[in-house]
Subunit: 410 residues, 2 copies
């Protein structure tokens, strides 16, 4: 019989911490660096104190709970995720990864083992990016993808900056995030998509993450009155939208791994009796293969060139505003996850992460992988987010087995 | 030689009043019931006082300058428009119609004539609808299309209501707008479109106004994450837009008098990495023939039924939120305008108003017509709005001739 986590303890912890910022619809609102976020972290720290896991912070507000190793000078194996939530978030996104990490350390301690190297559970600051943009701040600063001082200057909608809050909560005096050595990094997370549920699989073995390209697009025409101006004389930017939108969706369907999303669209000045002067929209292209993502990029540019040719009265401007290259996770860690799946006899599927996660940032510096479990209807960032106790159990067991394997604890 | 207006005097008045609320780009910002609007009205009143034209108001803040008739108990012939402007408006929209009315009365007085019935110049309150929506408030209340108490309750973006401002400026105690009898109504206005300029015509003989139908449309899909969710499993409302937008534009091209405008479009929640849960857009359909406008309405409903059939995973809701029937102006007044055009030897074109005007409201109660003059590039609601002195002259002369004809002053 393989070692297993204590499902009731983990599930009870998930339900208990969800009361901090709990919403009427059963979700959670515990946004980064708010008093509720700090209250959630304090509860987590009390659970850690029972096992004498030491708590440390860094200057961007990342929180680490440490189980000592036999050789405590070795760099830690780190398990992590985040305790902050969306304003109308659920009980599992992020929180599961942190509490499952704690449960792994408790299970090892309960079994009387001391690992060779230390284990730490990281709770990264502001993964969600809801109160302060961008997302994945703590892990981004840790990995060197984001600059500490730039991030300190970011303000929320009320003008309160990240730096103000780091000062207020006493995090600013801790060591700089980037100095911390880590041996390996593992993260358990709900899938936030429907694939595992649809395929009837218990565990997602995450092999990497999609590459992402974000574009801002503007189609310029001429702002004129909806009544007097004849149709034939108009330069209506809406006229280019049918071919544009169809073309972008076709790019997203070039193979079954591709994704194309237009999440924002807005006409200016936005008056119902004025032909828009311009229409702005955003395009999000994703693919797990970098070459194919490049091909999607080329097809988008070709589409826009064709549009410019067809609608000479309009101007089409495009700007690539972000490119996140494809991430490939560490082969040895992936193998350890697969071994954990086999150990427990769970069904599984190789999967590529479509959403952003702290692990994608950490992977720039440290060998990393992730484990996914299904969530109901693929819903996340939603108060209705749900994953069943037996699914939580399976994910945490695989995480435990992978950690034991990497630490040669058997 | 027909009687003509004093072009320099009228042009100088236009330039003088434009200083009140004048903008750096040469436009005007004199929004309804602001202190600047009142200052503009006070200047107008001082010009009227020179000729002893009496000023009166009604309880919605409409302003009337009166030239006495030989039989002063007769209902007045009214010339009017508005002195309020858009926030980045021009010098001519509305203001021209009021000052040309004054110029017509001055010219008659200078010529030593007293008309049989009184003449009045109306400056309607809040034609623009910029600070307080809807537009055409003063003429709308006058004509019974809007309710005085409803309109008093309308607040601007700072929470100040129309009623507050009517009280503050002392208008509330005047008689109710609806009680006022008028014999006939004439309004001179810039075209706010490009047709007269394109056709090289001096005067637009306005035969009526387009009928208008306003719709709010919502396409519902499902809000999911842009990364994990496979394209084939999405219910992306953007997918219906190509056929929808093309279909609406095609309805707008069913004949050369038709218009179709989508001025607002917005995706919710409006995050670049979230497939929209729904997309809202507005549709504005116009036609000068009521039967054809009905046909456009039917074609729109057919289009939406086809879309619902094609995209079964989406829901399409449409709401008709406003229907302004086709307005036909008064035949005798149109004939008087045509006679004025011939008297002065101007070129002209029959035209249907595409924009909203106080005259469209007044026409519900009183025999009405309008005169249009060209504006450069068809631009209006824009600080670059411009019409040349000789064009202003032509418009005011036609207005004068039509008034003289209707009053048998020759």
């Amino acid at each position: 019989m393989p070692l297993t986590i204590n499902t009731d303890r983990l599930w009870n912890d998930l339900m208990e911490i969800a009361k901090i910022g709990g919403t009427q619809k059963g979700g959670c609102n515990r946004q980064a660096l708010t008093d509720l976020d700090i209250e959630g972290r304090a509860l987590f720290a009390r659970w850690c104190a029972v096992y004498e896991f030491e708590i440390n912070y860094d200057s961007i507000g990342n929180m680490f709970a440490r189980m000592k190793g036999q050789d405590d000078t070795m760099s830690p194996l780190v398990i992590g995720s985040h305790l902050d939530t969306q304003p109308t978030g659920g009980k599992y996104d992020g929180v599961l990864g942190v509490l499952a990490g704690l449960e792994v350390m408790r299970t090892i301690a309960d079994n009387g083992w001391t690992p060779m190297r230390p284990i730490e559970v990281a709770s990264w600051m502001n993964e969600e990016g809801a109160r302060f943009a961008p997302a994945m701040m703590g892990s981004g600063v840790y990995s060197g993808m984001l600059d500490l001082n730039d991030i300190r200057a970011v303000a929320d909608i009320e003008g309160i900056s990240v730096g103000d809050e780091l000062d207020r909560h006493g995090y600013s005096g801790f060591p700089h995030a980037m100095g911390k050595a880590m041996h390996e990094y593992l993260e358990l997370h709900i899938e936030q998509g429907p694939v595992l549920e649809q395929e009837g699989k218990t565990i997602g073995v995450v092999t990497g993450a999609q590459g992402i390209r974000w574009y801002d697009l503007r189609i310029r025409g001429q702002e004129v009155h909806a009544g007097p101006f004849p149709m034939a004389m108009r330069r209506d930017p809406m006229a280019a939208l049918p071919n544009l939108i169809q073309g972008v969706l076709d790019i997203g369907r070039m193979d079954e791994k591709a994704r194309a999303t237009m999440g924002q669209i807005h006409a200016y000045p936005g008056s119902r009796n004025v032909v828009p002067g311009h229409v702005d929209l955003t395009i999000d292209l994703r693919h797990p293969d970098e070459n194919t993502l490049n091909e999607m990029h080329d097809r988008l540019n070709k589409l826009l060139a064709d549009l410019a040719e067809e609608y000479k009265a309009l101007e089409v401007d495009i700007r690539l505003i972000w490119h996140s290259p494809v991430v490939a996770f560490d082969d040895e860690l992936i193998a350890a996850v697969r071994k954990g799946v086999e150990t427990h006899g769970y069904s599984s599927l190789n999967i590529v992460s479509g959403a952003g996660h702290d692990a994608l940032m950490v992977a720039r510096k440290v060998p990393t992988t992730m484990v996914f479990i299904p969530c109901r209807d693929g819903l996340s960032h939603n108060e209705a987010e749900y994953t069943e106790p037996h699914q939580v159990e399976a994910g945490a067991n695989v995480l435990l087995s992978a950690v034991l394997d990497r630490l040669d604890l058997t």
